[in-house]
């Protein structure tokens, strides 16, 4: 018996009603088997039974998923697991030219596996390919493809035979055929209901053909359009949503108009669907069709600017649904990004949803953790270390919260601190680094074992073992299953370079989709179109209605051309539109429907879904029918809500900052370098010395140049003690120091010439002045205390790179510069007063090692640029006795006195030329007020 169902029919409820009406005897129900496509569709029928049971125990029919009958294994060889098959195929691919790395081979293998599955589903013999290429005299490049496809034609069947196993897809087809036999032989008191099939594979077709007319069998055809006329039926093509059903009926020798519907009641949208999805040859009749305004009275269409807006709109609709008791809603979308965004938006109201379409293992916390660990093992640096250690699964023998607090505080410290932390981590997991840092191919299993061992170790906390923390959760169990199988099959993989390991792993993990086990919302759901089949809810939101998303566009794959597919009796690539339009049609006929799409995705304009376009085209031909204006204007509501929730009620405009802390809070000690800040940008002094905010080091973009600079200073200091320094010695010292300051070997190589020239310069300068120096010291710290006008004492500190006391009694304060050197004018103007101020400290006997200063003090910049002769010495001779120092003293006292005043603001000043970089520009919110000021 064959019955049709309307698009809007609630499949599960209809089945339950049917069984309750016809089967008064519960034992009869127990002998009934319902066969549906997937486990998920079985679940919704089961839930429907539970719903009517009113908490009384009932007998429900057996439910079987046709495509997932793993439990049936009647005399069939066992199936090869997906992973094993993939690895075996990849190994074969690896032998082909141009496919050297395993990760590349894996991807090709996957696409071969997909083709193979298609061959099984449509029961095509791969060897047919060979004759096809020969017969058709196809272009030479097909020969090349064929040379690859011989894996499927010749090699694969042999391998299967050796293993004594068959492919899952093959097994599935054989099981369906066995099932057909079984039902055909069944007793009359066994009852079978089959429903929800929309594919046209020969096995399913034959199954239905064989049993359709048996008394104890009921075939339900979902969404069958029984109103098509002869013309329309003739014009049907593979794109059409009714094509699979009609070709099935044709095979049964039945007309659609002869099929009785289970219920006549239908949603008004169904007439619209029948009209909109008419084959192209009949669409000129759209103008004449008699649609009423009723047909879209339950449908709203919302166009959003972008994905974020669409997600919030959908979330609002779902939230609104919850206001009505018992009401249910489903979002149907293929767009995982949209689904994820909706989940996030729903958390605004503390509503936790889960995407029933599943999340790939590599996007789950455990997957991310494992990949981060490898990322670090391959590329150990500050960033990868932070990313790994901040992951909630990291514990490192501590309480995870403690570890996180620790990492956060370490993060604030310098790169060197981070390095220390890394070093401890690295010694603990030495085996991991040893294996992942080798540039040799390593057996995959070794990599995997080291990886998992390290992961378990790192995850171990004070009270729980790593094993427990990693694998004893829902996701963890799935992950464990995955890794166990991987361990089992890893021997199939030849040795790989460590750097390909994460790519292989990522690829494999991506193939594993984790679906939530529990915690799903009882009334709200997010489903993919396939999951949405046979499920039913009051409100259906079809999201992401753009081309490429819904429908997804056909991908014919690299192996067969359109003509070849046709010759091999495979469906055309466009047949995917038939199933997708059926899914769309079913969703569209819910009681209450929202259609949403984004005008832009990732910044580029989108193209509306062909389904939506068709509906709109039909509607525009009927002026009396248009989408119903929603009583709630979602688009208007959205900005209001997002403003209320996401934005402050008002914005306070800020002006150029000029903070005026009280005298007590102002600094009583400043170094000579800060005096420059105080002159050029006082705000920087305020931020650093009053607010005590110091810039954090950037972990990743290590500045090799500054490392080089610091290394030079340190190396020169060390070389001072050598009486006759040689160039090679100096070079060696600089290299040593650079390593200590965190430079890599590549940095050393890059600076090689610079280092050599600088060393040469230093040695020459040393030798030249050696005989004139009486005493020379490096990194000399000193300070000068004086009293400000209000009686407060102030300390000026200064660390000189080097102070030379000459044999003639004069002094020279030397500053090593690897970057640019201050111009003489900026020194004279007092902007670069660092050296004169150090001179002032020296003169005031502020450097303990140099006391009782009588003679002249000179200043010089040693500009070690590594060019030409390696550097240049610029000396500022005191022409007038201590004129620079005197001026600097007057200037600094005046300046500091001026700031010893409650009303003197620390202004933010932009002095483009003098301020080369400014750490506090963001803190001062320069961009906010700068434009306003200039207007």
């Amino acid at each position: 018996m064959i019955r049709g169902l309307n698009l809007s029919d609630n499949f599960s409820d209809q089945v339950v009603r049917l069984i309750c009406e016809r089967q008064k005897n519960p034992l009869q129900t127990a002998k009934t088997t319902i066969i549906l496509p997937t486990k998920r569709s079985c679940l919704s029928v089961k839930n429907a039974f539970v719903k009517i049971s009113e908490k009384q125990p009932i007998l429900i029919p057996q439910l079987r998923a046709l495509y997932e009958m793993d439990d049936l294994n009647e005399n069939l060889p066992p199936a090869l697991s997906d992973m094993e098959r993939l690895f075996l195929l990849a190994r074969l691919c690896q032998k082909k030219p141009n496919v050297s790395s395993f990760d590349k081979a894996l991807k090709i293998a996957q696409s071969l596996a997909d083709l193979l599955d298609e061959f099984y589903e449509y029961e095509v013999n791969p060897s047919h390919l060979k004759s096809l290429v020969e017969e058709e005299n196809l272009a030479i490049h097909w020969q090349e493809s064929l040379a690859f496809l011989d894996i499927l034609i010749d090699v694969w069947p042999k391998i299967l035979k050796e293993k004594g196993k068959i492919d899952i897809a093959d097994r599935r087809v054989r099981l369906i055929r066995q099932l057909a036999e079984k039902i055909a032989r069944s007793d009359d008191d066994e009852f079978y209901i089959l429903g929800g099939f929309d594919d046209n594979s020969p096995a399913v077709k034959d199954l239905i053909k064989k049993i359709a007319f048996q008394k104890n069998v009921l075939i339900l055809l979902n969404g069958l359009n029984v109103y098509m006329d002869k013309d329309e039926e003739k014009a049907l093509n593979e794109n059409h949503y009714q094509y699979p059903l009609y070709s099935l009926l044709k095979a049964l020798g039945k007309n659609a108009s002869d099929i009785k519907l289970l219920s006549e009641k239908e949603q008004p949208q169904e007439a619209l669907i029948r009209e909109a999805f008419k084959p192209s040859d009949l669409t000129d009749e759209w103008l004449q069709s008699d649609l009423t305004s009723q047909c879209v009275s339950q449908v709203r269409r919302i166009e959003c600017e972008n994905l974020a807006e669409e997600a919030l709109t959908i979330a609002l609709i779902m939230r609104q649904v919850l206001e009505t008791p018992e009401k249910t809603a489903t979002l149907v979308t293929t767009d995982r990004n949209l689904a994820r965004r909706v989940l996030t938006e729903m958390r605004r109201w503390g509503i936790e949803l889960d995407n029933s379409a599943g999340t790939p293992l590599n996007n789950k916390p455990i997957g991310i953790f494992l990949l981060l660990l490898i990322e670090y093992a391959l590329n150990p640096n500050g960033n990868t270390a932070l990313a790994l250690l901040k992951h909630p699964l990291s514990a490192d023998q501590r309480n995870p919260t403690d570890l996180r607090t620790l990492i956060r505080s370490e993060e604030k410290k310098a790169r060197q601190e981070m390095r220390k932390l890394q070093v401890t981590l690295n010694t603990k997991m030495e085996y991991l680094f040893k294996i992942f840092q080798s540039n040799q191919p390593v057996p995959f299993l070794e990599l995997l074992t080291a990886h998992l061992k390290a992961a378990e170790e790192l995850a171990t906390s004070t009270d729980k073992s790593g094993k427990e923390r990693l694998w004893e959760t829902d996701d963890g169990e799935e992950a464990f299953r995955f890794f166990s199988e991987l361990q089992e099959q890893a021997s199939l993989i030849e040795s790989v370079l460590p750097e390909t390991y994460p790519q292989v792993l990522q690829f494999l993990m991506h193939c594993v989709s984790l679906r939530p086990k529990y915690g799903m919302h009882p009334r709200l759901d997010i489903l993919g179109p396939i999951e949405s089949r046979l499920s039913h809810s009051d409100v259906c939101i079809i999201g992401g209605l753009n081309e490429g998303s819904f429908p997804t566009l056909p991908d014919s794959g690299p192996w067969l051309s359109r003509q070849m597919r046709k010759k091999m009796n495979l469906p055309s690539p466009e047949s995917v539109f038939a199933t997708q339009s059926m899914d769309f049609a079913a969703c569209f006929c819910a009681k209450e429907v929202y259609l949403t799409r984004s005008l832009k995705d990732d910044g580029s304009q989108t193209i509306p879904s062909r389904f939506l376009s068709r509906i709109e085209a039909v509607l525009s031909a009927h002026h009396n029918a248009a989408f119903r204006p929603d009583p709630i204007d979602w688009k208007k509501l959205k900005p209001i809500i997002s403003q209320k929730m996401d934005r402050p009620l008002s914005f306070e405009k800020i002006a150029r900052p000029a903070p005026c802390p009280s005298k007590e809070l102002r600094p009583k000690t400043l170094s000579v370098t800060r005096i420059r800040d105080l002159m050029t940008n006082p705000y920087a002094v305020y931020a650093r010395s009053v607010l005590q905010l110091k810039p954090l080091n950037n972990l990743e973009s290590f500045n090799a140049l500054s490392g080089y600079g610091s290394a030079l200073h340190a190396a020169f200091q060390e070389m001072m003690s050598v009486s006759l320094p040689s160039v090679s010695q100096t070079v060696q010292k600089i290299n040593e120091q650079m390593r200590l300051f965190g430079c890599e070997e590549t940095d050393l190589r890059y600076f090689k010439t610079k280092i050599e020239k600088s060393a040469e310069f230093f040695v020459n300068a040393q030798l030249e002045r050696k005989d004139r120096i009486k005493k020379s010291m490096c990194e000399v710290s000193g300070s000068w205390c004086f009293t400000l006008h209000d009686g407060t004492s102030f300390t000026l500190t200064g660390k000189a790179d080097r102070i030379d006391q000459m044999t003639d009694g004069s002094y020279e304060i030397i500053d090593y510069k690897t970057g640019s050197v201050p111009t003489s004018s900026s020194v004279q103007k007092g902007i670069d007063s660092q050296l004169p101020l150090e001179g002032l400290i020296l003169k005031e006997n502020g450097y303990p090692d140099y006391q009782d200063i009588q003679e002249d003090i000179h200043f010089s910049y040693w500009h070690i640029n590594g060019k030409g002769t390696g550097g240049e010495i610029t000396t500022f001779q005191e022409t007038d006795k201590c004129a620079y120092i005197q001026e600097a003293e007057e200037g600094v006292v005046k300046l500091l006195n001026a700031y010893q005043n409650d009303t003197k603001p620390y202004e933010f000043r932009l002095m483009m030329k003098e301020v080369k970089y400014d750490d506090y520009e963001h803190l001062a919110r320069v961009k906010e007020w700068l434009t306003e000021e200039s207007e």
Binding site: I108, F148, S604, I607, A617, S620, A621, E745, F751, G866
Partner: protein
Amino acid sequence: MTITETIKQAQKAAIETNQSVWVAASAGSGKTTVLTNRVLNLLLSETDPSKILCLTFTKAAAAEMENRITNVLKEWTAASGKDLQHKIADLRGFPPDDHTLLKARRLFTDVLETAGGMKIMTIHSFCQSVLKRFPIEAGISPQFDVIDDTQSETLLRQAFNQVILNEELAPDLAYMSDYFQLNNLNTVFKIIKENTTKFQAFFTVYPQIKKVENILKKKFNLSKYTDEKQIFSEFFKSDSEKAGELTKNVFLSMKKTYLSSSALKNKDNKTALLYAETYHKYMLYHLRSAHDSFFEVCEKFYGILSNLKKRSRCFGL
């Protein structure tokens, strides 16, 4: 004839399907409309939609084209008989017959149902689709991905680290280390990689630039500037009126130099003038692109330009 009429006529001519057409027009003057109309005309003339390929430079332009075409076809489906007749007559310049009218109504769904669909794509996506279709032939994985910026930076860094340890490159590195910090080098390479053709153009023109530099110096009182950067900046940054004058003058003086050049001695003046004009256009074009790449994109690298020519091998040019 008014300007609008002239334009309309030109636009009509451009959608004739029996000829190949080159359309060059300024922004906003209706190039996309012409393209759209041409596609519509092709469709009305019974061209199989799957045999039409439209390539554009940007995703936005491709989407815009596709949406425009779909919208027109949607309108045709729903238009009243008279209305449709008008619309098509307006598009093609002659009234449609009954068959064409029927065709026009069905085009919307015809295009949707075409196997393989009508192809409106960017050049990049077209090339990608070809590679996806023939990966074995191209020697790449069938499921290849296009590399993203972060990945490419990592790879570049790895490659750089390998290269830097090559002893042969030591002098080049020494030279570069004067100008760039190591961690900036990736950016430098990226800019150079993205502007390879411009850089190559620059190197071709570079010897000529020296000549122009002298002309500029002499003719436009730019002698006060000593380095070429300043001279060219002055030349290109001058306001439009001055730039016009400069261009004219530069042309005149170049013509002179060119006429007197020994290579042209045997040719008559007219040909030489033609050469000079072409040369001038060529020069200006290349100067502009050199200007674009150097004075705007990487102004800060200018200091090393003259030496960069020698060092170009370290950038793989």
